[in-house]
């Protein structure tokens, strides 16, 4: 007896050219030099990273670049215990919202060099960069963040960023 066929697998592939725009391009070029570049809104003074070239709240262009620290705090995080296709690292790992010093919006990145059960909201962290000759215009220039060992930031100082 032949096997019933209900469906077939048809893999699809999509390669595309992504035009990032001028402000994100400056951010990406900064990463290629080991720097993190944000932009300040001329109206509300909030600092965006990555910059999008405009403030989503005020609707005005952002033109003032701001050099940001590569240190910050973990506002909140997730311990990922489930493997998935295309994952950058092997589970379990911690993905964290990192609010860089001087920025008003957190970045999402990997947190390592710490046991998953020791990660805390408010933990001080710093970027670990790839070696200089491997820097590229991509977030992959930062391998991950790791704890600095400084005292945790108080909840009040980042509760507006959750």
């Amino acid at each position: 007896m032949s096997e019933q066929v209900y469906g077939i697998k048809v893999p699809i592939r999509l390669d595309y050219t992504y035009v990032v725009g001028t402000a994100p391009a400056r951010f990406l070029r900064g990463l290629a030099q080991g720097k993190i570049v944000g932009q300040r809104c001329p109206s509300c003074a909030k600092v965006y990273v990555p910059p999008r070239g405009s403030c989503p709240t005020c609707g005005v262009p952002t033109r003032d670049d701001v050099a940001l620290s590569d240190k910050g705090i973990v506002t909140t995080f997730c311990v990922v215990n489930i493997p998935f296709a295309g994952s950058a690292v092997k589970a379990p790992y911690v993905s964290a919202s990192v609010l860089l010093d001087g920025a008003d919006i957190p970045l999402f990145h990997l947190l390592q060099e710490v046991a998953t059960e020791d990660v805390r909201m408010g933990m001080r962290v710093e970027a670990v960069w790839v070696p200089n000759d491997e820097l590229q215009p991509s977030m992959n220039s930062i391998r991950y963040f790791r704890p600095t060992g400084e005292p945790d930031a108080p909840f009040e100082s980042f509760k507006e960023h959750l």
Partner: protein, 385 residues
């Protein structure tokens, strides 16, 4: 002032992890034919078709509405596709309702679906873009940090999420269409299920379902010839906000608060907890029940978890939430929002069978999508407004 809009027909599929017995076209027809039968109409009576589903990248079928036009009887008629991520089932119903409310059409068929067995949502929701490493593992990876923030802000006991999961799975036992029917489920089993995206356990997440939902929305004139008592749209609203902005509150998003305020205002509701008899809200991860209780104004900020703990949201509570078993028991993503809207209408029609809330006169249907950035809601009632 908008014309009245009635829900004269409701249909849904049996939801399952894999409906290998039907193609996508077969799946949407199953729901559509049930809705038409409920309204005692045929495809020929329909003036327009409004269809919705979640991102095309899920099944890898681009613009599926093109290949579904014939299956849904749309030849020679207007056909619209709506897309607002996870909230799409709700916003699709609202776009369909607006065509009736505007007086443009008499009878509109609206359908939403997802066939997750043909899809890889986890892959589709873990995008590779130049600004972030591929560490956000699907929807769970995106929402888990916000749940952690809610727990920290509210001081909620850590077992609240498990209690919601247990309640919704027990409710699902009353719903013959629900995907999950876990007869012997216990709090202990849920506690022992693997921690996927800490703090979200496996048993606190929605399943991955194949399914569809459909409704026939009609004018006051057309409602007169409907064989069964219709539900009436008392209020409807949609709100959006940017995915990211400084100071964005992802635990209690402003767009959700404003959308809720808009529907209460339209329906003349000042005390939603008292005046709404049942709510079908979009809870894909169990902790979103207490979070949305606050966002929807049923509980003051920081206290939504008390409603779960005290049993207020249980089937026999003062505000039954997700008597159908909700998204935690069936999640055909694109259809999940429409199922909330349809289940709310079933309650006020007295059509919900074993999961009927006694004497429900007014119910809320709610959906959200994207990074909690799209909200769609309606309030339906048993009486014409």
């Amino acid at each position: 002032m908008a014309n009245p809009c009635a829900i004269a027909g409701i249909g849904q599929t049996r939801h399952a992890s894999q409906r290998a017995d039907v193609s996508i076209a077969g799946l949407v027809r199953e729901a559509a034919l049930r809705a038409l039968e409920d309204a005692a109409l045929t495809f020929a009576d329909i003036d327009a078709v409004v269809i919705g589903k979640a991102p095309d990248m899920f099944e890898g079928v681009m613009m599926p509405e093109l290949m579904l036009a014939d299956a849904l009887g749309a030849a020679g008629k207007p056909m619209l596709r709506v897309h607002t991520a996870g909230s799409v089932g709700g916003s699709t119903a609202l776009v369909a309702a607006s065509l009736v409310q505007a007086g443009i059409h008499e009878r509109v068929l609206t359908v939403a679906f997802e066939k997750q067995s043909e899809s890889d949502a986890m892959w589709a929701l873990a995008p590779k873009i130049p600004f972030q490493p591929t560490v956000v593992a699907g929807a769970g990876g995106y929402f888990a940090p916000h749940i952690r923030a809610y727990i920290r802000r509210s001081g909620a006991p850590l077992d609240i999420g498990m209690r919601v999961a247990l309640k919704d799975r027990l409710n699902a036992l009353r719903n013959p269409y629900a995907h999950l029917h876990q007869e012997d489920i216990t709090l202990e089993q849920i506690a022992q299920s693997p921690m996927l995206w800490d703090p979200i356990r496996y048993a606190e997440t929605c399943p991955s379902s194949d399914g569809a939902c459909a409704m026939v929305l009609v004018s006051e004139q057309a409602a007169r010839s409907a064989p069964h008592r219709p539900a009436w749209v008392h209020a409807s609203a949609m709100r959006s906000e940017p995915t990211m902005f400084a100071g964005r509150d992802q635990v209690n998003p402003r767009a959700g608060q404003e959308c809720a305020a808009a529907v209460y205002h339209q329906a003349g509701i000042t005390d939603p907890r008292r005046e709404i008899d049942a709510a079908e809200i979009y809870v894909p991860f169990s902790w979103y029940e207490p979070m949305w209780m606050e966002n929807l104004g049923f509980a003051p900020e920081g206290t939504g978890w008390r409603m779960t703990l005290e049993g207020a949201t249980a089937f026999d509570g003062d505000l039954p939430v997700n008597p159908s078993g909700g998204v935690l028991s069936s999640n055909p993503i694109g259809a999940s929002g429409m199922l909330r809207f349809a289940e709310a209408a079933m309650q006020v029609r007295g059509q919900a069978g074993e999961h009927q809330v006694d004497g429900a006169k007014r119910a809320l249907g709610h959906a959200y999508g994207g990074g909690s950035q799209f909200f769609a809601m309606w309030i339906v009632g048993s009486e014409k407004p």
